[in-house]
Symmetry: C2
Subunit: 226 residues, 2 copies
């Protein structure tokens, strides 16, 4: 297909497509004449992936270039490709050095060991988790530290769904990266929402009291577990 | 205690304390002379709460003023106070109108009904969840929609831990608001980290392959489930 059709199919403006090409995110088309080239389905897929990474991964062009280069590198194994994809959507926030941090390092290590989880202390998610635990300790929210194991339980259930969703076959590397990046970034928001929605239900069970009149939705029945 | 001691006890600079007082987040002290006042434990607690809300809730002064006013309003029931606290840490992102949104509304309603969760369609978490589901549909990630129930399972486990943590006794309203706001905002980050850490463990089980040499931590044994 021509550039105009590529733009129409993907809904991405021609100047943006050209920009992605200059930045190395998209391979050039097959030249068919002076100033003309032919594009195939692989260009459509790559463009959709790039847009998904820009929109949902909130990733910089440099990071996307690195990721697409990994997709195109046949020597890179799938597992490492997915690990790289996951790291791009993981914020890394280091704890301030000190006793709270040391304690938090030990606490997280013990938690993951007891659960048989893979331990890579340099992983951004691991570093950030240490920072969160140190913070909770510092502000005196020790009660939340006691809920850690239950949180890990919930997280493991969600992760199992994530991995099942990805499926055993990750030979379609473009799809796999898309699932990891969209699934992780958009999924975090979804999980945060579900957590809040579940909280009010669980809290209502405990406090055994209905919503106040102002909050009640007129058109919708308040569904309850029988 | 005097202002200087209040500042020392909380670690909050005097000008910041005075600012909070002018903004109505903190009650004035008991006057003990010209330009002097006496502060009590309730001032220490309130200051710690305000700092927690500023640092972890990322909340504006106006929102914090609203929250502290609710804490101080004895006519407001605990359940409503906690609902208000939770809303302040919930992002609201509305879906674009259209068929994806309509479909997403129905999907979320069905999911929550089937689970017996409380349904309040105007809740910010509900609105945002509709937006996320519409987005996933629009970008063609229908597979993630199928994982919804598993996500809700995980979220419910986490929410149960949240509510147990809060405890049945919420008569200490300051503590309850602090737990809800810190627990929700910091907790989201913690859960996102645990999800990623669990993902690599679960993925490793499936792909049945150890970490590559470059990722292995030298000093720490790779703990595995036996």
């Amino acid at each position: 297909m021509r550039m105009a059709e590529l733009s129409q199919t993907t809904g991405i403006p021609v100047p943006t497509i050209k920009y992605y090409m200059r930045e190395g995110l998209l391979a050039p088309g097959r030249p068919t004449g002076r100033n003309q080239a032919d594009y195939g389905e692989e260009h459509v897929r790559r463009l959709r992936l790039v847009r998904a990474l820009v929109e949902y991964g909130d990733l910089s062009i440099a990071v996307i270039r690195d990721l697409t280069a990994r997709i195109d590198n046949p020597d890179l194994e799938e597992f490492d490709l997915l690990g790289a994809a996951q790291k791009t959507v993981t914020q890394r926030k280091e704890a301030r050095p000190g006793p709270y941090k040391d304690e938090a390092e030990q606490r997280l290590y013990d938690l993951l060991s007891a659960r048989g989880w893979r331990i890579r202390t340099g992983d951004p998610a691991y570093r950030t988790a240490v920072g969160v635990l140190a913070t909770l300790d510092e502000v005196g929210r020790h009660d939340m530290l006691e809920a850690l194991d239950a949180y890990a339980d919930g997280a493991e259930r969600i992760a199992e769904a994530d991995v099942r969703l990805l499926g055993g076959d990750v030979s379609d590397r473009e799809r796999a990266v898309e699932i990891v990046v969209i699934g992780t970034s958009v999924g975090d928001t979804l999980i945060a929402c579900l957590r809040r929605l579940a909280q009010s239900t669980v809290a209502e069970r405990i406090y055994a009291r209905g919503p106040s009149a102002g909050e009640r939705e007129p058109g919708l029945p308040g569904a309850r577990r029988p």
